[in-house]
Structures are given as structure tokens and as C-alpha cells.
């Protein structure tokens, strides 16, 4: 078993629990001993665009400090936003002067020394497990299920922390192919869902979500896959009435199902039944 420090983030313990459950199921079968960071705090979510944003790095750095305290050199994130925030802070403190300022403020018994790597589930599967190893672990194939791979912003922007080529990503497609799914052409896969405008400007988010779902359906998808809890929320809770009623699942749910875990939405899709949460009348639109 390979030990891997794990930062869940708030969403994985609340609305995104199925993502965590499926992922941990799969990673255990891939030989990982997942060690959740003790006493982690919020990743820091939206990072500041201000020039002087040092204070905004205190939260994420504190998490990295706890990874250091575990004796680990890297940490896994599942949520696209947690990944981006932690990776950004890990890079921020590479400059010694900033690291010293953060340490002076933190005032903890042990200083943060830097050098903690941040990996996302997708980069772990690509760079360490390897796409080619995945099929041998698959317990139930996705069997040609047509999937739309929705990256959104956080996995690919800014460029320095992108999990893949920001303009032509393929990592999610390759992972899902290895699980037996068929990624469909999906031009809007890297478009922003509207993110936090979901609070104050629902109209903008609805417009974008409608466009994204139409693009996914236009390619022939039966299912949209994402790694971001906010995208998942917007794509399901902010869809305009006329949008295609596609189910939206986390990558971890799909991965978990392929590795033998229960996932009713995928099971229903594969036998052509109406999926949970989808109006029965929509079945004929495929």
C-alpha cells in the first residue's frame, strides 16, 4: 500500500460525499492507503486577485504545514477548487521572503519548510497509476456510455496550475476511456459555469449552464462528468427549464462504479432507464 495524504475540503464532507466515497473505494483497490490530514481547515476557496494577498495564503499553507507534520511530501485533492487553491499557495511560498512572512504570522511551533506537492485525482491517475493500468482494475465497464467531460475553469486556470493543456485537455477523456466510456465532442467543456455568480446573478449562471448542457447533449452525451462541487451544483440546480435534462456526476462516482461500487445513476443509464432525478418524459430526446 502506498500512503497518500488526503485533503478532503468542505464539500467532500457535505454535498459532494458521493465523490469522496467513490474515489476512496477506487484508490484503495489501486493500492493507496489514504491518510486524511488531521484537523484540516478550508482550502481558502476563492483566491484573492489583490496584489497583496498574503493573508489569503495563510489558510492553505496551514493545511500544507499539517501535511509536513504527517511526514508526507505531497497531498491529494479531489475538488477542483481545493486543488487550485492549495497548488497556488504551494507555489506562492516557493519564494523565501513570502515563506518567512507567512511563518512569522503563523507563529506555530514548527515552521513550514515548503516543498509539499499538490496532486489532483486526475494527475494521480495519469502520472502515477497510468491510464493503461486502469482497465485491469475495472470490475464493471462503463460499456460505451457517452460522457461529456466538463473541466470548467479551476482544473485548467491559471495555466501554472493546470492539470493539463488549458486549451486542449485530454486527461479526463483518457481516464474515462480507460473505464470503458466514450467521451463525446464537447466544445464548451472548458467554459466557466458562472461559479459564484450563482449567489447574486442566477440569470447569468442559468444562461451559461444552458449553453454548456446543450453543447454536451449536442455531442450525444448521456452523462456529464465533473470534479468541481460548484460546477456540479450549478449544472444541476441552476439549469434553465429548456436545458437538456442530463445527469451530472462527479468523476469519483464514475470511477467508483467502474471499480465495483454502487451508483444508481450509472446503473440506470446503462440499461437505458430514466436516471434518478431525470423527468421520465425526457428519455426520448437521446
Amino acid at each position: 500500500m502506498k500512503r497518500l495524504a488526503y485533503f478532503p475540503g468542505c464539500a467532500m464532507k457535505d454535498q459532494a460525499r458521493p465523490d469522496e466515497a467513490g474515489t476512496l473505494h477506487a484508490l484503495a483497490l489501486l493500492g493507496y492507503e489514504i491518510a486524511e490530514i488531521p484537523r484540516w481547515n478550508c482550502c481558502g476557496t476563492v483566491y484573492s486577485l489583490a496584489q497583496d494577498d498574503l493573508m489569503r495564503h495563510v489558510g492553505p499553507v496551514r493545511n500544507l504545514l499539517r501535511v509536513q507534520g504527517m511526514g508526507e511530501k505531497r497531498v491529494l485533492a479531489l475538488c477542483a477548487m481545493c486543488y487550485g487553491t492549495l497548488a497556488r499557495s504551494a507555489r506562492f511560498v516557493q519564494e523565501p521572503e513570502r515563506l518567512a512572512r507567512i511563518n512569522a504570522f503563523l507563529d506555530t511551533e514548527e515552521d513550514f519548510r515548503g516543498g509539499i506537492g499538490v496532486v489532483h485525482l486526475l494527475t494521480l491517475l495519469r502520472d502515477e497509476v497510468g491510464y493503461e493500468k486502469l482497465p485491469s482494475h475495472v470490475k464493471q465497464s462503463l460499456n460505451g456510455l457517452k460522457v461529456a467531460t466538463y473541466y470548467g475553469c479551476m482544473l485548467l486556470r491559471p495555466r501554472e496550475f493546470a492539470v493539463d493543456d488549458p486549451d486542449r485537455p485530454e486527461v479526463m477523456e483518457r481516464v474515462l476511456e480507460a473505464l470503458g466510456a466514450v467521451p463525446v465532442p464537447f466544445p464548451e467543456r472548458t467554459e466557466c459555469c458562472g461559479a459564484y455568480l450563482t449567489v447574486g446573478r442566477k440569470d447569468i449562471v442559468e444562461e451559461r449552464v444552458g449553453r454548456i448542457l446543450r453543447s454536451a447533449r449536442g455531442g450525444g452525451a448521456d452523462l456529464v462528468v465533473t470534479t468541481c462541487p460548484l460546477c456540479q451544483f450549478n449544472l444541476t440546480e441552476r439549469r434553465p427549464p429548456e436545458a437538456p435534462p442530463l445527469p451530472v456526476l462527479y468523476l469519483g462516482q464514475v470511477l467508483g462504479w467502474a471499480f465495483g461500487a454502487d451508483e444508481p445513476t450509472i446503473a440506470a443509464l446503462l440499461v437505458g432507464q430514466p436516471t434518478p432525478g431525470e423527468p421520465v418524459s425526457s428519455g426520448g430526446a437521446r
Binding site: C10, K13, R39, N41, G44, V58
Partner: protein
């Protein structure tokens, strides 16, 4: 007499060493009507901040529990203005978003840990904010069980969170919905209602006062 010099709101006083801040203020002539309660470290009324000469840190503690030190600069915080939105416990669910919906400022936490450093009860205050953010109400209740609502974390918080009101709601939700009912208590209440102990209780109810007092004094007490 061994004396130290303290500065109460900027004015210096010689006071006996070994006094608490609260006693030192009274020794200096203050008559405390606010910022003073149980004098035992339980009520949280005597929140106080101080600095020591040559030390940049701002310390926070309870005046009734903290001995004076030479060169201490002291100011009391008898009251903490804090926002508590109205709610009815019976209308709330012990779910993920309940705390955040009522106290959206929780999301402004940058994990600076200043709250934890300010807590005179040595609670892991920031961990409780983080648990509240992810909707772990039981964890919030457990981490803040010993909170005395002194308000010092609230006064120090750059995110302007009203901590003790969040903790109170979490403990109420935990008590009302998440804590298992004690089965033996319910059974005993039913037994009493069914008059299982009628003979004994009726005997006490009809006793003369003197006999009752004597019986009380002669009762068996657990060691």
C-alpha cells in the same frame, strides 16, 4: 510587601503581586459593576486584553483567572457586540448548511487562527469555525463545549464572526437532534408516571418538616 506596577487603561498603579487582574483593579479603586460575574472562570464576563512591556503580542484572558505581572497594560472588554440572527430551533434541521445560512460570515474565515490564540479556555476555536463551515454540527458542539462566551475571539476575528452565537446554535442543534436520548431516563420517567415509587414518594410528601429534614440529613451520600 512584594508589589508590581500595572497600567489600567493607561494609568499606573502599584498593586500587591499575586492578585488577579480583577482584584488588582479593585485594589486600585475600581468598583466593578460590569465585566465582573462569577469570579470563578465560568461566566465569561471579565474578558480582558493586555500587553507586557517589550512584547508585541496582545494577550487575551479572563480578569478573574489571570495573575498580574509587572509592566502589564490592561483594558477590560465588558461587552462584545455580536450579531445573532433570530431563529426558531424547531424550524431548523441539524444539516450541513444550517449554520452557514444563518451566519454567512463564517465563510470569510481565512484560517488565521487568531481566535484560537485569543481563547482563555484554550479551545481550538478555528477548528470549530472550520467544522461549522463544512456543516459538522456535532464536531462544533464538542469543540466548543467549554466556551464561556467571553467574546474575546469575536473581538479579535478579522472575518468578524460572532463565534459564541454560532457555538450556541450548534450545541442546541446537537442537543435537540443529534444526541441520542438517554433510554434509562425515559424509562425512569415512565416508571415514576406509572407510580412505581408511589409508596416512597407519598411517604415523603406527607412527612412533617422536621422529620423530612432529619431524613434528608441522614441520607446516604455517594463518596
Amino acid at each position: 510587601m512584594n508589589e508590581v506596577t500595572v497600567f489600567i487603561m493607561g494609568k499606573g498603579y502599584r498593586v500587591p503581586a499575586g492578585l488577579t487582574i480583577m482584584k488588582a483593579m479593585e485594589y486600585a479603586g475600581y468598583r466593578l459593576t460590569r465585566g465582573c460575574g462569577c469570579r470563578g472562570g465560568y461566566c465569561g464576563a471579565c474578558a480582558t486584553v493586555y500587553r507586557l512591556k517589550g512584547d508585541y503580542r496582545l494577550y487575551a484572558d479572563l480578569a478573574c483567572q489571570t495573575p498580574v505581572q509587572d509592566g502589564m497594560y490592561i483594558a477590560q472588554l465588558p461587552f462584545t457586540p455580536a450579531e445573532r440572527p433570530p431563529y426558531a430551533l424547531q424550524d431548523l434541521a441539524p444539516e450541513g448548511q444550517t449554520l452557514l445560512a444563518l451566519f454567512p460570515e463564517l465563510a470569510r474565515c481565512v484560517a488565521c487562527n487568531t481566535c484560537t490564540k485569543a481563547c482563555p479556555q484554550k479551545l481550538e476555536v478555528m477548528d470549530a469555525v472550520q467544522a461549522a463551515l463544512r456543516g459538522d454540527i456535532r464536531q462544533v458542539a464538542e469543540l466548543t463545549f467549554d466556551c464561556v462566551s467571553c467574546g474575546l475571539c469575536t473581538m479579535r476575528c478579522p472575518a468578524e464572526i460572532s463565534h459564541h452565537h454560532v457555538w450556541q446554535l450548534a450545541r442546541r442543534l446537537n442537543g435537540a437532534y443529534l444526541t441520542p436520548r438517554a433510554k434509562h431516563v425515559q424509562e425512569r420517567v415512565q416508571e415514576i408516571a406509572a407510580r412505581k415509587f408511589a409508596v416512597e414518594l407519598d411517604a415523603f410528601m406527607s412527612m412533617d418538616r422536621d422529620v423530612l429534614v432529619a431524613a434528608y440529613k441522614a441520607r446516604e451520600i455517594e463518596a
